[in-house]
């Protein structure tokens, strides 16, 4: 039992480090394709974290939709627009020297506040694996049926919008 707990913590730290490294790589890489690849790494790491929490359907949907469709769209657009390496930003050094410690301090306060709250008292148990998808689908089609239909309408509007935007001008 103790072995299982530390294994979960170890996996959490590995995935969390992967996610944070991906996000840092998103900031520091200068070519848009590398930024896109870093974001994909972050998404896969997050999907792993969702699996660790027992939310397997959300993990699969994250990879299929976010990682397999939305990011493919980003990669396509970067390839089509032939985006090159980004120009150097003129960031003032003073902002860096003053800002980074401030940001770290803010993060530390936030982390301390979160850790001290009640949520950390009892970590949630894993919900049953098959019941997870069934629970989500039941809830989606009963309590959340109105937002569900609205989002399908939203997707339709987005498709129409994208088609209108992609039309060539009738000159």
């Amino acid at each position: 039992m103790g072995c299982a707990v530390t294994a979960q913590l170890a996996i959490f730290f590995v995935l969390a480090t992967l996610a944070v490294l991906g996000a840092l790589s998103l900031i520091f890489q200068r070519h848009p394709i590398h930024n896109a690849l870093s974001l994909i790494v972050v998404m896969i790491a997050l999907a792993g974290l969702y699996l660790l929490m027992g939310a397997e359907f959300v993990a699969a949907v994250q990879i299929i939709v976010y990682g397999g469709a939305i990011m493919v769209l980003f990669v396509f657009v970067i390839m089509l627009l032939n985006a090159g390496v980004e120009e150097r930003t003129n960031v003032s050094k003073l902002a860096g020297i003053a800002g980074i410690p401030l940001a770290v301090a803010l993060l530390g306060f936030l982390a301390a506040a979160i850790a001290r709250s009640n949520e950390s008292a009892q970590a949630g148990l894993q919900s049953g694996t098959l019941a997870n998808t069934k629970e989500i689908s039941t809830m989606l089609f009963r309590e959340f049926v109105y937002p569900f239909e609205l989002t399908s309408f939203l997707i339709l509007v987005a498709i129409l919008g994208a088609i209108v935007l992609a039309q060539r001008e009738k000159s």
Binding site: A19, L107, G124
Partner: protein, 100 residues
Amino acid sequence: MVPTSYYLILSAILFGLGVVAFVFKRNVITIFMSIELMLNAVNLAFVAFSQARHQSDGQVFVLFVIVVAAAEAAVGLGIIILTARNRQSLNVERVDLLKL
């Protein structure tokens, strides 16, 4: 078990990094990607809370967030393509006039 606060702190870190990328990057597509990163961080917080309270509401809402992000990405990238064609540049600092 991993305490929920760990997930929340990770979510806060990712959100913060998303904001940093949003502020400091010049390429409009990268800025868009940092928005997706922020949405992902929020999704992580949702799922963490859903696990802590043994309810599936958080996970259902995550599905909605993903769908809305997809719609937003589609239309937003369409706008970006048009803007890039008009201004011949993906640098967001060049898009500073309402008229070309």
